[in-house]
Amino acid sequence: MPRIYLDHASSMPVDERVFEFAKPYLISSHGNPSSLHSVGLEAKRAVEESRKKIAEFIHAENESTIIFTGNATEANNLAIKGTALRNITQGKAIVASAIEHMSVLNPMKELQKNGFSLTYLPVDSTGIIDLKKLDMILTKNTTLTSVMYANNEIGTIEPIQEISKRVHEKAMYLHVDAVAAAGRVPIDVQKDGIDLLTLSSNDLYGPSGAGVLYIKPGVKLQSVLLGGGQERGLRSGTENVFAIVGMGEAARIAQQEMQQESRRLLPIRDRLIKEILTIDQSYLTGHPTSRLPHHASFRFSYIEGESILLNMDMYDVQVSTGSACSSKTLEPSHVLLAIGLKHEEAHGSMVLTLGRSTTMDDVQIVSKATNETVQRLRKLSPMSQEWRK
């Protein structure tokens, strides 16, 4: 049986066109963009070309709004610590949605330890943030509010324009982590009213090792990584030219093909959801419609997610889970708890993220594998017996 990889939210293959395009920058055009000789300039030109492509991809004002980083985690750290520390005279209140990625929450928590006041923005049972609560939380001392464009674990797309309106009426900057959304739904930082936006190369079928922070003209922030002053002094360190060039090309291709690809994936995704929900005591997590087109996430009662993942792998179907047992911290997913699941419910989650390799033929194999996996694990489980009694 062929491998069916449905864990694109964790890692994606590099598009072959992207690899071919960027390959010379590993081998022949290997210069350091800071070097003034011809080989260095060649690399510099390629980095600037990539910057332009990224700016176009998110409809930024100009290419100097784009700062390349080593990955999205770095971009999130720069966005959060960089603005909070730089604008400390304006206030020390910061806000994050309860379902943000750890690379947003952990820098926020560190700021909190250092005297900032951190407020979590709650979400409803579908993962949509509570706009009324947002109104109540925001003050003129709120320098930074961070809400992701769409969530990686439950696929829910947030009403960013509504959020932006509220943030800018009362507070200062809106940071949006768009790692999960970029390349799946169109992003327009100007229309959406975004001050800072995070992107990841690999999540666009680009090579790992590059990320981007978009910084709207006029937004003030300071560096959190000091060194030779690359990237306008905001992200020191020699550029990973290969990854940056690849990311630009990946963004260009994504921009061109996104709409068509989403249209292709939607019916496959919907069919998959429909088939899997025929399993007894199975539930969709996240929003039913305001949802990324490649994303299907579930929970199953009485069984545990790591077991689901391992069992599915035996069918050569690769999935993800928010189960505590699969995480490094052994804590259940904060996202699943934030949407109101009990601990024992959050343990039984399975996340499927589709990609360019996914076809309609996969649906039957995956839903059969899921069904057999759930049945087998429930037979082993003392919990399901209690339920049958």
Partner: protein, 128 residues
């Protein structure tokens, strides 16, 4: 010790667990863990002349929780209860060619469930 992922033996026990199920009217029963933490194990034993003649388990939990449950039933079956009660978490992990470090504590409760079942057997025996 396996530090990356699970050993072949863990996966083999996860996929083909031994002694799954329930014993009606067991001579000893032990249950440990709780669903909030993500691991629940129960072990049923049948004992004759202090020898464990039959043993069954049911487990809610991750791969190592299921594999350790399966392994502990294999180790205990046919043993004298005083021998079986000496089986440790470490013995179970060693027999499985090791467990990832972060799994050693949380998902290695199977020996505890066995000890509970034996304790239950002994207390029932005293009251008879």
């Amino acid at each position: 010790m396996a530090s990356v992922g699970y050993s072949k033996k863990v996966m083999e026990h996860f996929m083909n667990p031994r002694n799954v199920g329930v014993i009606e009217n067991p001579d000893g029963y032990g249950k440990v863990g709780n669903p909030v933490c993500g691991d629940v194990m129960e072990i049923f034993i049948k004992v004759k002349d202090d020898i464990i003649t039959d043993i069954k388990f049911r487990t809610f939990g991750c791969g190592s929780a299921i594999a350790t449950s399966s392994m502990v039933t294999e180790l205990a079956k046919g043993k004298h209860v005083d021998e079986a009660v000496k089986i440790t978490r470490g013995d179970v992990a060693n027999e499985l060619d090791g467990l990832p470090a972060q799994k050693m504590h949380c998902s290695n409760l199977a020996a505890d469930a066995l000890h509970e079942a034996i304790k239950d057997y002994k207390s029932k025996k005293q009251t008879k």
